[in-house]
Amino acid sequence: MDFRDTPEEAAYRAEVRTWLHANAQPRTSDEQRFGEGLDDAERISAARVWQRRKAEAGYAAITWPREWGGSGGTAMQQVIYGQEEERFLVPRMVFENSIGQCLPTVAMWAAPAVRERHVPRGIVGDEIWCQLFSEPAAGSDTGGIRTRAERHGDEWLINGQKVWTSGAHFCDYGILLARSDWDKPKQKGLTMFIIDMKAPGVEIRPIHQMSGDTEFNEVFLTDVRIPDANRLGEVNGGWKVMLSTLMHERLAIGGHLPTHLHRNLIQVARTARWNGRPALDDERVKERIANAFLSQHGVELIIARGLTALSQGKEPGPEMSILKLVAGRGILDIAGFALEMAGPEGLVAHQDLGREWSFLQQLWLSAPGIRLAGGTDEILRNVVAERVLGLPGEIRTDRELPFRELER
C-alpha cells in the first residue's frame, strides 16, 4: 500500500510539470478559473491555441494509439497529466468531448478518408466536437431516440430534436444517433452519423440551467442532409457504436469532484454564530463536519481505488458507480448545510459575500446536476445492483417490439 507514484509515473509527472510550468500560469487558489472576464469567442479561441500547444507536445491525446495520431500512452499517464494540469490556469470544458469520446468513435468507425479528414484536425484544435445522443424522450433510456434518419440515395435526411448537448453552440461537428428503422426493436433501428453543426437546418438554442449557467443546448434538426460517407458503422448498428463511445468515458473517474469540503464547513462554522456563540462549538455542527469528511474524503479514496486499477493496467469496473452516488448526495448535503449555518443571511446572493461564499452557493446549485449527469442516482443503483451484485435486470416490455408499436 503506497500512495506515491511508481518511478515511471513519477518521471512522467516531472516531465509534465516542467512542460506546464514553461507553457501555462499556475493557479493561485482552488476557486480561480481560467477565462474570468473573457467572452465565449475569446475563450474558445484561447482553448484552440492551448489545444494546439498540447498536441505539439504530445499531451492532446495521450492514450490514443499512434496510428490515430495519439501518444500511445497509458491511462495512468492521462490521469497524471490531468492532475497536473488542474493546478494551472488553462482553458477547460471545450475539447473534453472531442478527445474523450467523439474522435475515438470517429477513428474506430469512420471510413479511412473521413477519418483522415477529421481526426488530425480535431487533435490540434481546428475542429471541436459534441455528442448528440440525449433527446427529450430519451434520457436515461437512450434507446428511446426519435430523431428520424431517412435515406435518400447517397444522403440521409435528419429530422428531430436533441437535448443536453454540451458546447453545441461552439462546435464544428458532432456524432449523432438517429432512428433509421422504426420497424425494428428500439436498440436495433439506430444509426450513428457525423453531423456538420454549421449545416443548414441545424438550429441551436442554449439551455438556461438552474445554476444560471448555459453549458448545454437544445439542437433542432430540420431536413439536415448528411452524406452516407459520414455514417459511422453499419446501418442500424448505431447502438454498438454508441456503447463504444461510452467505453471511452471510463477514464473520467471523478476528476473534477470536490473532495475537501469539510474544510469549507469548518471555515463557515468558525464565522457563523448560533445563539451568540460560534457554530463550531455546537456538537450537531461537528457531526455534519465529520459526515462531510466521510463522504468527500471517501470520494477521494474511491478514486484512489480506481487509479490503483489503472496503475496496474486494469480497467476500473462497474463498482466505480458508487463514486457519483456518494459524491452527488454528499455535495448537496454539505452545500445546503453551509448555507443553513448563516441563517437568513445564507440566502444573500454571493456577490455581496465574497468568493468563498460564491463557491458554496454555486456548489449547491450545481449538485442536483451532478446527481443527474452521466447516469442518475437511480440508474447507478441499478448498475450496482445488476452488474456488481448480480441481481436480475429490470423487467422490460420494450425489447422485442417494433419501435413504432411502443407506447409513447
Binding site: M1, H262, S295, I322, N382, E394
Partner: protein, 363 residues
C-alpha cells in the same frame, strides 16, 4: 498509486479464509451462542497456530513480525466468518496496549505469551459514554479500585488492561481484590464479564502526562482493526441477503428483481465500500504510523460501524420473516455488528473524535 494490499498479503488472507470457512461454521458459532463454550478453541488454536493472530507482533516478542496490513486482512476474515474467538480482546486491544504503551519489561513478560496463545488478554478502554452511575475507577500508589461494567472475554482472560482516567493499568485477574462474573449480553457469541477491583495491587502500563496520548494511540489502532472486522461482516451479510433474494420468489418473480430491494442492496453495498476505503486508509495510516492516523482511524470506525449495523439490519429485512428466526444466521450478524460498534465507544463518540481531529487539523 497503489491503494491496495499486496499479492502476498492477499494470499495470507485467503489461507485464513479457507481455515475459517472450515472451522468457524454456523454450528461452531452456535455452540458459543448456546453457552456451551466461551469461545471456539478450534478456531482460536488455528488462528494462533498459523501465526495469523500475532501477525503484527514483532518476532522478538514471539509474533510473526509481518505487520498491520496483514493483521487488517486477517481481521476482515475474522469478521466475515463471525469468528467466535478473543481475537479483538487479546490482539487488537491488549497486545496493542502493551506494544504502544508498555515498557520493555512488560512487553517481554506478556507479549510472547499472548502471541503464542498461552494467555488470553483483554482490555476495557472506552470512557466516553457510560450508563450506570458510580465512582470512576481510580489508580493511585500502585492500587486500582473501580468497576468495569463490560469487559470482553473477562472470564477467560489471564491478563486485564483496564483504564482509570488516562492511565492504563495491568491487572492479574487472579490477584486479591479482583471479582469478576459473567454477564449476559446482546451478542452471546462473544461473552463478556463485569470486573470489580477493590484496592488491587496493579502495575501502570502508561499514565501521567503522556497517558492520554497513549490511550488515544491504542484506541486508534483498535479502531482500524475493528473496522476491518466490521467491513468483513458487512460484506458477508450482504452476500447472504443477495443470495437469498436471488432464490426466494414472491409475486411470481425473484424478490431480488424488485427495484425496491435492488436499490436497498445497492445502498448497503455503497455504505460497505465507503467503509472499506476508509478502513484501507486507516490500515495505511496504522502501518506507517502516519500523522493522519487519528483522522483515518476515527473515519474508519464511524464508517464501518454505520455500514455493519445497517447491512445486518437490512439483511434481516431482505430475508423477511425467515430472517427473524433463531435458526437463520441473520441475527448473529446483527448481534456482532452491535458488539463491534460499541466495544471501544460508540459511533457517536467517534464521530465527535473525528470532527475534533479535523478541526485541529484545519486550525
Amino acid at each position: 498509486m497503489n491503494f491496495d494490499f499486496s499479492d502476498d498479503q492477499r494470499l495470507l488472507a485467503q489461507e485464513v479464509r479457507r481455515m475459517l470457512a472450515e472451522t468457524s461454521t454456523s454450528t461452531e458459532i452456535r455452540r458459543v451462542l448456546a453457552g456451551h463454550a466461551t469461545h471456539s478453541a478450534d478456531v482460536w488454536n488455528n488462528l494462533v497456530g498459523m501465526g495469523a493472530a500475532a501477525a503484527a507482533i514483532p518476532e522478538q516478542f514471539g509474533g510473526a513480525g509481518l505487520g498491520y496490513l496483514e493483521l487488517c486482512l486477517i481481521a476482515e476474515e475474522a469478521g466475515r466468518h463471525l469468528a467466535p474467538v478473543p481475537l479483538a480482546s487479546s490482539f487488537y486491544l491488549a497486545a496493542e496496549a502493551l506494544m504502544r504503551s508498555g515498557n520493555e519489561e512488560q512487553q517481554q513478560r506478556w507479549l510472547p505469551r499472548i502471541a503464542g496463545g498461552d494467555v488470553i488478554a483483554t482490555a476495557a478502554l472506552a470512557d466516553a459514554e457510560a450508563w450506570s452511575t458510580g465512582p470512576a475507577p481510580v489508580f493511585a500508589d500502585g492500587r486500582l479500585s473501580g468497576r468495569f461494567a463490560v469487559v470482553p472475554d473477562a472470564m477467560i482472560a489471564g491478563l486485564l488492561v483496564l483504564r482509570a482516567g488516562d492511565t492504563l493499568v495491568l491487572v492479574d485477574p487472579a490477584a486479591p481484590g479482583v471479582a469478576r462474573h459473567a454477564i449476559a449480553t446482546l451478542d452471546p457469541t462473544r461473552p463478556c464479564g463485569e470486573v470489580v477491583c477493590t484496592d488491587v495491587a496493579a502495575q501502570a502500563l502508561c499514565g501521567g502526562e503522556r497517558g492520554a496520548a497513549l490511550c488515544e494511540r491504542v484506541l486508534n489502532a483498535a479502531a482500524v482493526l475493528l473496522a476491518f472486522e466490521q467491513v468483513g461482516g458487512a460484506t458477508r451479510i450482504l452476500e447472504i441477503a443477495r443470495d437469498y433474494a436471488l432464490q426466494r420468489k414472491a409475486f411470481g418473480r425473484q424478490i431480488g428483481s424488485f427495484q425496491a430491494l435492488k436499490h436497498k442492496m445497492a445502498d448497503v453495498y455503497t455504505a460497505n465500500e465507503l467503509a472499506r476505503v476508509h478502513a484501507y486508509y486507516g490500515a495505511w495510516a496504522l502501518s506507517c504510523d502516519a500523522p493522519e492516523l487519528p483522522v483515518a482511524a476515527a473515519a474508519a470506525r464511524v464508517a464501518a460501524s454505520v455500514a455493519f449495523n445497517r447491512a445486518a439490519e437490512e439483511g434481516i429485512e431482505i430475508h423477511g420473516g425467515i430472517g427473524y428466526t433463531w435458526e437463520m444466521d441473520c441475527h448473529l450478524y446483527m448481534r456482532r455488528a452491535r458488539y463491534l460498534a460499541q466495544l471501544i465507544g460508540s459511533e457517536h463518540a467517534w464521530r465527535t473524535r473525528l470532527a475534533d481531529a479535523l478541526i485541529r487539523e484545519a486550525a
